[in-house]
């Protein structure tokens, strides 16, 4: 195993440029955890509409279960008339759907939150966009004879906690979100069968919602009258209903489960701390919002006025577009900031809203680089 995660940098007196380049990465996943795998996509990969699967970030609570190709997802509980057990091969009777969507960990950017908070200290790389192929959860629930009085769908994967004293990872989504035609049980990613690290054989796809709803190794789907209970609903994955001062604890009253990720943009290149040649240059990156399509992306170059960037790719809630901003670079140090605005009017803020677990970081992304 790679041991460099234990490297102590104090002795190296790392400059911010070295750190920035390491955050940007060089075409390989970046390890925030080797066991279980907590691996981030390098920023430099965010110049593509589709994040390559081998560079797509990896995150789970307990690490993967065994790779069982015919693992069944059980559709059961008291709110279905006909419980089902479905393996990938059993899904052929449903209409196949392929869609493109951003998958972003709720904690992406946690390492940038000030004051600091505990958890995997993600930089920018716990996000990616892929095409996902599967069947609609709605169709599967219909086939199971969904009771119309169900208000939530409780979900669990096959990944077991390491000890009986560790709470199991269970989430739920409201029935409307479950019946949304974009909510899929997927078995392909970027055109190829899902890999184990990404939830094989079956995972849930919930476009626009944070990754903790995209249950990997999907094993249990249970419509219910109530939301799921337990640590990951009642304590984890919650955000303040209104902003709170740093250090304030969350309570059931002042918080709610996080769902839709907010508007955000990230610069893929130039990389922070990079040295580039003079001449015509482009600032390139991605912009996305869980709530609505991207309306505009603006670049602030060297603390000047905000200027519009060009957008590429199909707009839509929960999917990203590329932005490009071309300019003639003169020798010296340059700075850029990016902010996106979505079609619902939400504007990426200069500073992210602090919360005790560092969820949904979406401050302006800034880079500084040198032109020779």
């Amino acid at each position: 195993m790679n041991r460099r995660g234990f490297l102590e940098l104090g002795a190296l007196a790392a400059s911010s440029a070295i750190v920035a380049r390491a955050f940007a990465g060089g075409g390989k996943l970046l390890a925030y955890g080797e066991r279980p795998q907590e691996l981030a996509t390098p920023l430099s990969a965010f110049d593509q509409l589709e994040t390559p699967t081998e560079l797509f970030f990896i995150r789970s609570h307990f690490g993967p279960p065994a790779l069982v190709a015919n693992r069944h997802v059980k559709i059961g509980g008291g709110f279905v008339k006909k419980p089902l057990q479905l393996a990938v091969s059993d899904l052929a009777r449903f209409t196949e759907v392929t869609l493109t969507a951003v998958l972003q960990c709720a904690g992406n950017g946690r390492g940038l939150i000030v004051p600091r908070v505990p958890g995997v200290q993600w930089g920018h790389g716990a996000v990616g966009q892929a095409s996902w192929t599967g069947v609609r959860l709605r169709d599967v629930l219909d086939a199971a004879g969904l009771d119309p009085s169900a208000a939530h769908v409780q979900l669990a994967g096959a990944d077991l906690p390491p000890k009986p004293t560790v709470p199991a990872f269970k989430r739920s989504i409201p029935i409307a979100r479950a019946l949304d035609p974009s909510t899929l049980i997927a078995y392909r990613m970027n055109g190829a069968p899902l890999r184990l690290a990404h939830g094989a054989p079956l995972r849930l796809i919930v476009p626009g919602w944070a990754g903790n709803h995209w249950i990997k190794w999907l094993a249990h789907v249970e419509p219910a009258a109530e939301p799921a209970t337990g640590f990951y609903m009642e304590k984890g994955y919650r955000v303040p209903k209104t902003p709170i001062p740093p250090g304030t604890a969350l309570t059931p009253d002042n918080s709610e489960p996080l769902t839709v990720f907010p508007v955000k943009s990230l610069i893929a290149r130039p990389g922070d701390g990079e040295h580039v040649a003079r001449g015509r240059q482009e600032i390139v990156g991605v912009a996305f919002s869980g709530a609505a399509a991207i309306a505009k992306v603006e670049i602030q170059l060297d603390d000047g006025a905000w200027q519009p960037a060009k957008l590429e790719g199909e707009p839509g809630a929960g999917r990203w577009q590329l932005f490009r901003f071309a300019f003639d670079a003169t020798p010296g140090t340059h700075r850029a900031a990016v902010r996106a605005t979505d079609a619902a009017g939400a504007v990426q803020p200069e500073h992210a809203i602090w919360n005790p677990s560092g969820y949904h970081w979406n401050a302006w992304h800034r880079v500084t680089w040198e032109v020779a």
Binding site: G5, Q37, L67, V68, V117, V166
Partner: protein, 222 residues
């Protein structure tokens, strides 16, 4: 094995407390005695290094409390205050991290002294191998053709005291049911033979590991 199981049940029925470490070592040593080669015990305690009454160095406390479930890179990347570290250690202790109550202040203080807001930024290393393949099944090689019935017996003698008779884990050992590692036999064998966290090295022969793997695979996915 029965006395061990009774001890284990007593341990599991209470919060992580003062006797857990001693019981863990006793169980581990008892387990080692049933294996086919001489036992290699868990690290020998060093008196009083971590603080009043502690039997372990802070580094040992981290290894023993944390690394059964996740790698040391997770604590190393945190930049937390002493208060946050104390809360984190207590939360993990509540989830079953094996740290004696009396060692919690020393462990928290050690983590806070190294991984605080003044520490250099954490730089995540690039992965050095194909991360997707690193968790997917490999050829069983020398660990093929195990016999599950023999594996059950060996598991019960060697592993079950800590990993629980049903292999779903206990306060001492982690869950082994339906894990990807069961289909990466060489990696599995390496961990068994090297030990990890509180688990002492288990010098099992290849056929023994094959048998244990065959048994654990029968516990399979639900």
């Amino acid at each position: 094995m029965e006395p061990e199981r009774l001890s284990l049940e007593r341990v599991a029925s209470r919060d992580v407390g003062g006797r857990v470490r001693a019981l863990a070592l006793a169980l581990a040593l008892a387990a080692c005695r049933s294996s086919s080669e001489p036992p290699k015990p868990a690290p020998a305690p060093e008196a009083g290094v971590a603080g009043a009454g502690s039997a372990h160095t802070p580094e040992e406390l981290v290894a023993l409390a944390c690394t059964g479930c996740h790698g040391p890179d997770l604590p190393a990347q945190q930049r937390l205050t002493a208060k946050q570290w104390d809360a984190t250690v207590k939360k993990m202790s509540g989830w079953g991290a094996l740290v004696d109550d009396k060692d919690v202040p020393a462990l928290s203080a050690y983590l806070a002294s190294r991984y605080n807001g003044s520490a250099a930024p954490y730089v995540p290393p690039e992965t050095s191998e194909d991360a997707l393949a690193a968790i997917e099944p490999t050829d069983d090689g020398a660990y093929a053709n195990g016999v599950a019935t023999r594996g059950r017996e060996l598991y019960t003698k060697t592993c079950g005291a800590c990993h629980a008779p049903d292999a779903r884990g206990s306060s001492l050992g982690t869950n082994l049911v339906d894990r990807y590692l069961l289909f990466r036999a060489t990696d599995f064998a390496a961990i068994v033979r090297a030990g990890r966290g509180r688990m002492p090295a288990q010098p099992l022969r290849d056929p023994d590991i094959a048998d244990v793997l065959a048994f654990l695979r029968t516990l399979g996915a639900g």
